[in-house]
């Protein structure tokens, strides 16, 4: 019944879509955030909404459509009009969650249009009070003797996939434990109940700064500027792709190219704002430099990469 209603709505409105990219937007824009209010993605999304509102001169309304590791908000986007008035702000969960939720009511590749990449941060591995090592190379030795636990922010989250990638590539005997949210995962690390947690710097750097957990490695190839001492996994001989955790804007599938380019250009304008950049770096996040084509290619590539990993590591439920 619901689908019928949406289909009818879609047909009715499609006629009106074709014209008028040049005066976009001429009415309020909805920015869907597929997470609950108050989290790091929500905060970033809300500030982005405020900036876009300044540029567009139209209200940008934030709607938190929570659930299923961001897939409920994404499903809502997939059903919306591709007219730019409904956009979604999501993280790399956009490419990891579809590997877990195989039963989605939309095709994440064709029913969603990547519009712009906003920011990124490295995958940082932090260690809890139960871990003796200070450096990644020592950790690998320590983990040989004592099988460790890797905490995640939840099944299907990017921290889960990062954990699977690390365990798979290092060949170490480690168990993965799921928590509901990064906060819970960090608490158990502090208490020494689990050992490692890999997530964005945005979610764990506050705990690092408070010396509640120690930074032990960067998942990827290069080091992270704010933690120059911390080794990367590639440095210690663990084969790792050059991956990052990122945030970006998405629209429904079938958005006209000119409209996508227009919104992409406006996001680039936001990234020229000194105040916004200052806010990003205060949250241990870096401004994106990827062009529209690079971003769209990256999304497709990563979706493929994580899906393969999910098969290999037998995470996918079939």
């Amino acid at each position: 019944m619901k689908t019928f209603a949406f289909a009818a709505l879609a047909l009715g409105m499609l006629a009106g879509v074709a014209h008028g990219q040049e005066n976009f937007p001429n009415r309020p824009v909805t920015l869907v955030i597929p997470y609950g209010p108050g989290g790091s993605t929500d905060l970033l999304g809300r500030q982005l909404a405020a900036e876009l509102q300044k540029i567009w001169g139209q209200p940008v309304v934030v709607e938190n459509r929570t659930g299923a590791g961001s897939m409920i908000g994404t499903a809502y986007l997939a059903q919306s009009q591709p007219d730019g008035y409904t956009l979604l702000f999501n993280t790399a969960a956009h490419v990891t969650a579809p590997a877990i939720y195989t039963d989605l009511p939309f095709d994440p590749e064709t029913d969603i249009t990547p519009v712009a990449m906003l920011s990124y941060s490295p995958f940082l591995m932090v260690a809890g009070s139960g871990v003796k090592s200070e450096r990644l190379e020592d950790l690998l030795v320590e983990a040989e003797d004592r099988p460790m636990f890797v905490a995640t922010a939840g099944l299907g989250s990017s921290s889960h996939f990062a954990a699977e990638l690390f365990v798979g590539q290092s060949g170490l005997d480690m168990d993965i434990v799921h928590y509901s949210g990064g906060g819970e995962a960090l608490t158990d690390l502090m208490g020494g109940h689990s050992d490692l947690y890999i997530s964005s710097t945005a979610s764990s750097m506050a705990a690092v700064a408070g010396q509640q957990v120690k930074p032990i490695g960067i998942l990827g190839i290069g080091r992270y500027d704010s933690l120059p001492e911390t080794q990367s996994t590639a440095e210690v001989g663990i084969e790792t792709p050059d991956i990052r955790i990122w945030q970006g804007i998405f629209g429904p599938g079938g958005m006209p190219r000119e409209l996508v380019e227009k919104i992409n250009a406006d996001i680039t304008k936001v990234l020229e704002n000194e105040e916004f950049l200052g806010m990003l770096s205060a949250n241990y996040t870096m401004a994106a430099t990827a062009t529209l084509d690079e971003f769209q290619a990256m999304v497709a590539e990563e979706m493929d990469f994580w899906r393969k990993l999910a098969k290999e590591r037998e995470i996918t439920k079939d």
Binding site: G38, D42, G67, G183, H193
Partner: protein, 506 residues
């Protein structure tokens, strides 16, 4: 550290005209939101969250916190007067609060819950002020194994909270537990009872369930026996509101026990005021000399949960402020309000932002005093609300319930969940099945399951390793003893009854 200097700094911050104003705005909004069934703290704070971008961070968090604990004050009002809890944390209060209102002691019940809220809140603030860092340190030691044991103890202790037959109560606890398993399995990712519906992957919404089973069911039941304006005007007068010496005597210990239980559960991340209220009520009923008074308007039955949920509201700030770890979605929002201003909560918060930390704590005191001052004259108004014709009041409540359920995750599916549970709740009433144990099972179920599963992963599947943890072993043995004792005392009562019957027949 000089405590007096800290408190002085806090008072100075909290009493600044701006902060005082935002504290007042917060607690007023909180009371109103609490009184209205359906619209909960989370929905209210999410709606007001964007405003905090434009406020000074101290004022912002003072206001949001005011809404948070103000809601729990107000939440008991509808629970007592209408048998519709304002929020899940107040559901237990309806068990004895509503019978009190029907006995014409509604004004008294409202007055006493205000007192209970104030004392519970104050108790929580004292704990928060004096022991924050210590408790936060201990909270870190609590692992999933201990959580599981505690939740199991709670479940066994509280499963007989309803006054009807124990068997029916237990059946409803189990139903609640079963309902809580709907959704994605957190460790394996298997979809359970979701029927391919994406919205069910995260489980049923607690707000939708509670509002359906209490609110909508109550409305359906009342529509059939509408009797407008039968409220005794005398109950609004001051003399009818004042507690008798007997009421005061009965209230002391429940207040002390409720506040302690509430402070304990509040400080544990992830549990919060609902669990605290259930546990306090269960403890009271278990330790009562005449447990049969509970459910029939026992004043202990409102004092314990209302002091507990307010104490828990305050101590919930311990992990939030001293570890930077939010214990609930609402606490995450409050942290968000600080983070957006570049303040990172954590162990250094007290040192780096003493004005904010102590100012916030002192604002809790002020807020609690404001709430008492505001609530006392309002009691008369609330009771008079009952004289609003039901054909006006019930549709509005229904509307608020639907808005409240929808606004938690902007999902229309949750509105249907409300209606479904409304029907289930009504059927349960027809068969005299109690609703509170169902909510208890639903609240504790996910905590029990997730912590058990996680504890088993952390113990590498070895259950005996869990028993080697001293606290876990102690709590689990206590649970076992309680279970044996319950069964034994139940059997003894049964035997006594049978013997008495035989004596009569003989």
């Amino acid at each position: 550290m000089d405590m007096f200097a800290n408190l002085a700094l806090g008072l100075e911050t909290a009493l600044s005209p701006t902060n005082l104003l935002y504290c007042f705005v917060g607690v007023t909004l909180g009371t109103i939101i609490g009184v209205i069934p359906g619209i909960g703290t989370l929905a209210a704070i999410s709606m007001l969250f964007p405003i905090t971008f434009h406020l000074d961070p101290i004022a912002a968090i003072i206001m949001l916190a005011g809404i948070w604990y103000g809601t729990t004050y107000g939440g008991s009002t509808a629970a007592i007067l209408l048998n519709i809890p304002g929020a899940p944390a107040n559901a237990v209060t309806a068990l004895d609060g509503y019978p009190m209102a029907r006995q014409g002691r509604g004004g008294l019940a409202l007055l006493m819950t205000t007192v209970a809220s104030f004392i519970g809140g104050s108790f929580g603030i004292i704990i928060l002020t004096l022991f924050s860092p210590v408790i936060a340190g201990y909270a870190l030691q609590v692992s999933s194994a201990e959580y599981f044991a505690l939740m199991l103890l709670g479940l066994v202790a509280a499963s007989t909270i309803s006054d009807s037959s124990a068997l029916k109560g237990l059946a409803m606890v189990v139903l609640g537990l079963l309902l809580s398993t709907v959704g994605m399995d957190a460790q394996s990712g298997a979809a359970r009872f979701t029927f391919g519906n994406l919205a069910l992957l995260d489980g049923l919404s607690i707000v939708a369930l509670a509002m359906g089973i209490f609110g909508v069911a109550e409305i359906i039941a009342s529509v059939r026996k509408i009797n407008v304006g039968d409220i005794d005007r005398k109950t609004i007068s001051w003399s009818a509101m004042l507690p008798s010496r007997d009421d005061v005597r009965r209230s002391w210990m429940p207040l002390v026990r409720g506040s302690s239980v509430g402070s304990f559960f509040g400080a544990l991340p992830g549990t919060g005021p609902s669990v605290a209220a259930f546990m306090a009520y269960a403890l009271e009923k278990r330790s009562a000399k005449e447990p049969e008074r509970f459910g029939n308007g026992a004043i202990e039955g409102i004092m314990a949960p209302e002091s507990a949920n307010n104490a828990a509201d305050q101590t919930a700030f311990i992990p939030t402020l001293s570890l930077g770890i939010p214990g609930s979605a609402t606490m995450a929002l409050m942290l968000g309000a600080l983070m957006i201003h570049g303040i990172n909560p954590g162990p250094n918060l007290i040192i780096e932002q003493p004005a904010l930390f102590w100012g916030l704590i002192m604002s809790f005191w002020i807020g609690n005093v404001l709430l008492v001052i505001m609530n006392l004259p309002l009691i008369g108004l609330w009771v008079r609300l009952l004289t609003v014709p039901y054909h006006l009041m019930y549709p509005s409540i229904l509307m608020f319930i639907c808005i409240g359920a929808y606004s938690v995750r902007y999902n229309a599916f949750d509105v249907f969940v409300v209606l479904g549970f409304g029907l289930l709740g009504y059927l349960m009433r027809v068969f005299a099945l109690p609703a509170a144990p169902l909510l208890l099972g639903f609240v504790l179920g996910p905590l029990l399951e997730q912590h058990f599963r996680r504890a088993m992963v952390l113990a590498r599947g070895d259950f005996t390793a869990m028993l080697e943890r001293p606290v876990t072993a102690t709590v689990l043995s206590l649970t076992g003893l309680l279970l044996v004792w319950s069964v034994w005392s139940g059997w003894r009562k049964y035997r006594a009854r049978v013997r008495a019957q035989q004596a009569i027949e003989a």
